[in-house]
Symmetry: C2
Subunit: 268 residues, 2 copies
């Protein structure tokens, strides 16, 4: 049995206003931030946490987010850098279905797929203010049909090969890979803590707090469905990380991301 390895797959970057990143606080103005996926090589299989954004989708539906994505930053390209292809992935877990977390799902028709049980229904019928967040429906025939956006689906997509196992609450998706229910940003949002052999556990805060400043100041992003739960989730993740002496990693924090291992480098 080999040690668990964690790869950050660089997925390029996007732009938001500072008021989107730091709800009501800002300051305003354009902020470029990273988007990435996480590959966990584990004795129980290869797990992909989220799948980044799709460049063409963003250019079509949200061009004001000014995507920058090289070929190596697409999902197939990032996997190729480490000698893998999509069919090598056993499990795809989506922390939620905002477009920048599920854009590459379509490359994994053969993987087992897991998400919170409320996330596919939410993508099918989002709140009015969530329509742009849940705008890439290529991950699910069910959601694309519900929204009348089946043109987003790849020809090989079927209800069966885009079906999800719905989960709820905290659970271990593999030994030492803890999925932590962290709602607020999205109805079924998750954070992830990974135990490793040679270093402190990694707490992937993901979209529960976009940046280090967000978590430190309890300032969630302006994209949320339940800000009270969002606060509770941030507090819980902070406490959980402290209790487990975990190192914090943030989802959309360029300053932090520039210090993370990417490409062929990994954590173990």
């Amino acid at each position: 049995m080999t040690d668990t390895k964690v790869y950050f797959l660089d997925g390029g970057s996007l732009v938001l206003d500072g008021y989107h990143i730091f709800w009501n606080r800002g300051p305003g103005g354009e902020v470029r931030f990273p988007s990435y996926s996480i590959l966990i090589e584990h004795a129980e299989g290869r797990f992909m946490i989220d799948t980044g954004y799709d460049y063409d989708h963003v250019m079509k539906v949200l061009p004001f987010e000014k995507p920058i994505q090289t070929k190596d930053q697409t999902m197939p390209g990032a996997l190729k850098l480490i000698g893998l292809e999509p069919n090598d992935i056993d499990v795809v877990f989506n922390t939620h279905f905002h477009f920048d977390h599920c854009g590459g799902n379509k490359y994994f028709p053969y993987a087992r797929k897991v998400c919170h049980r409320l996330e596919v229904p939410q993508a099918c019928n989002p709140a009015p203010f969530e329509h742009l967040g849940y705008s890439d429906l290529s991950f699910s025939v069910e959601a694309a049909e519900a929204r009348g956006l089946t043109d987003q689906l790849l020809p090989d997509a079927t209800a069966a090969n885009t079906a999800f196992e719905g989960v709820e609450g905290d659970f271990e998706i593999a030994k030492g890979v803890h999925m932590l229910f962290a709602p607020g940003h999205a109805v079924g949002n998750y954070a992830v803590m990974i135990e490793l052999a040679h270093r402190r556990p990694m707490m992937l805060v993901l979209d529960a707090a976009y940046t280090r400043r967000s978590l430190e100041t309890l300032c969630q992003s302006s994209f949320h469905i339940d800000p009270v739960k969002g606060i509770e989730s941030m507090r819980r993740i902070k406490a959980y990380a402290e209790d487990h002496d975990a190192e914090l990693f943030f989802s959309h924090d360029m300053e932090s991301f520039e210090t993370y291992r990417t490409g062929t480098q990994f954590y173990s």
Copy 2:
């Protein structure tokens, strides 16, 4: 019995970013908007709906909102314009306790006071992201003590003369004056519809939708505790106004406000 009269008491103006007014949509940049209170002269008494902001409080706690308020735009000043003083008011109803809706409460120690039963508890213990909203505690000894801000209280404030009757749901505070529970912006937020003898009913949307564009596009303000309820409230108010052929009036919409009757002019 005289006809019901409605006075808009101009309370000056404040500045926010466009991303505060139009949640996630903006555009960004400074927007100056009005703040006002509503006096209803009614056969059953004089009812004050909200009491505006206190200039000194804003300059001390939120100076970045750049208040502009003349003497005639203070609560006593605006009442004096129409020949009244604070002690002439029988009932103060607060739609919620954000600082720009309760700053003048302190001038009404003798009025009966009414609000949603959850609003005083919320002011005592707001969500972390609501602290600036619920920052003027001069309206309530209970809230000021709970927050350690008793220095905001006037010397004559007592628990008894700042006590509120807690209500819930829809009700008529006086014949033809309909208080419509519209949560989302605040936990106990209200809108108000007033029936008049000589014109269509007035729907005071208040902070359920700051501006006409907000209601038309279902874009609530970025200050909210439950955006899903915020959407439901906007839809309900729109439908209620249509059902009653009511004219819409908006709380923080300069373009609309400039067409409203203020000073000694009134609606009846």
